[in-house]
């Protein structure tokens, strides 16, 4: 049975300051790979921990360059800085990735729905592709924090090549832990890589899954989501038990601009995390 999908605060009511960014100072900026960086931010206008649910996102504003929706990649249980992992692919994200400690960015949020990261005693299969591990990392922290009473946790992570994988130190740590079953694969590899090569949906058939007591969390490129959902359904998971993130379709965060619309859904306002059951028709259509 699927965990209940938490409702987004922004879906319930738009807060009065929903379009006003707050100032955050960059505390740290770590390169993850060739074009992806993890930033640690500290609030200047609202000191204290930044409260959010796993799966939610913020609008990050590089002054003079632009504003973009970026999922939060830090630990929701931590009182430390706000953490975002950003890939430099355009003017705004390049400016954000270039921000040095001490510089100030604008932040508004958090927005959006959340992963079922409580999951209780249910087993959780987390399927991440490429940068999709970043929005899932807060959920992984929560699932790892369930303790002995929680269900089994499996992380299946795929990337294009070894040098593109995110959070290398953390992956090494998780590989040693007994409370998470980690499988990593890459699409192609050269010498020096002794791990698996192949696409991430192929991992799904190799792991133990009890479909009636499992919830799946899937994030990555839409094609990877489609293949992964098909593999999860072949393993017997109900479409209500599969949660997917459509975060690549987020735009203004509050559903005003309409660019996030996918059929009847506004990804910013109603997602970005949905049950697959809710999006199923959209995945099966040739045009939306």
């Amino acid at each position: 049975m699927a965990a209940t999908r938490p409702r987004s605060p922004s879906a319930a009511a738009e807060p009065p300051d929903a379009i006003v960014p707050r100032r955050f100072r960059v505390l740290g900026n770590r390169r993850e790979n060739e074009d992806t960086f993890t930033l640690e931010l500290e609030g200047l206008d609202s000191p204290g921990p930044f409260e959010f649910e796993p799966g939610q996102f913020n609008m990050l504003y590089a002054f003079g360059a632009g504003e973009v929706p970026i999922s939060i990649s830090g630990d929701p249980g931590s009182s430390g800085p706000l953490v975002h992992t950003v890939r430099a692919v355009g003017a705004a994200t390049r400016a954000i990735c270039a921000a040095r400690p001490g510089e100030v960015l604008g932040v508004r949020g958090p927005y959006g729905s959340a992963w079922p990261a409580g999951a209780g005693e249910l087993d959780a299969v987390v399927v991440a592709g490429g940068l999709g591990l970043a929005p899932l990392r807060p959920a992984l922290y929560s699932l790892l924090g369930r303790g002995p009473g929680g269900g089994r946790l499996t992380l299946l992570y795929g990337g294009r090549e070894p040098s593109q994988l995110l959070f290398a130190a953390e992956l090494a740590d998780w590989a040693e832990r007994e409370d998470i079953d980690l499988h990593v694969t890459v699409d192609t590899a050269g010498p020096g890589w002794s791990g698996a090569v192949g696409v991430v949906p192929a991992l799904i058939e190799r792991v133990e899954i009890e479909p009636e007591r499992t919830v799946a969390l899937v994030c990555g490129p839409e094609v990877m989501i489609g293949f992964s959902v098909a593999a999860l359904r072949e393993r017997g998971l109900a479409t209500e038990a599969i949660h997917v993130s459509m975060e690549r379709n987020m735009k203004c965060a509050i559903g005003r601009c309409g660019h996030c619309q996918l059929g009847p859904e506004f990804v910013c306002r109603d997602g970005a995390v949905f049950t697959y059951e809710r999006l199923r028709r959209l995945f099966e259509l040739s045009e939306v």
Partner: protein
Amino acid sequence: MKTIADLLPEIPLFQGLSAEHLELLAGCGTNVVAEEGEYLFREGRTADTFFAIRHGAVGIEVSVPAREPIVVQTLHPGDVAGWSWIFPAQPWSFSGRAIERARAVSFDGACLRGKLEADHELGYELMRRVAIVMAERLRFTRMQLLDVYGRDEAA
């Protein structure tokens, strides 16, 4: 000690086959071990065998002149390697090298072809199952070709 016929049901490809058919197939099989770095089969050589991986991991490689080979896929326990054996005198298109100590059942291709010709019921059933594996490999290969982790147009 387990016989080859005892081992085959551990491989999904053979699960559900009758004991009689398992015995027939087992007659073409032998246990093989490849230490880490050793080849089970080499690109360009005659593909006269078919492997069912029981333990360890095997990398499927493409040779590149003057460079290290590129691994395009890894196979793990329960996976099978090779279908060139279906047709006589075909070369391997890829190499298979153990990336960790691997144990496998190696089937003699000519022996298998003979038994599948003699027993068309078994022949159809095994070919149907091999086709499912091939279709899945093709599906995932297409996904690899899409390079889904490439850069996207974004802000």
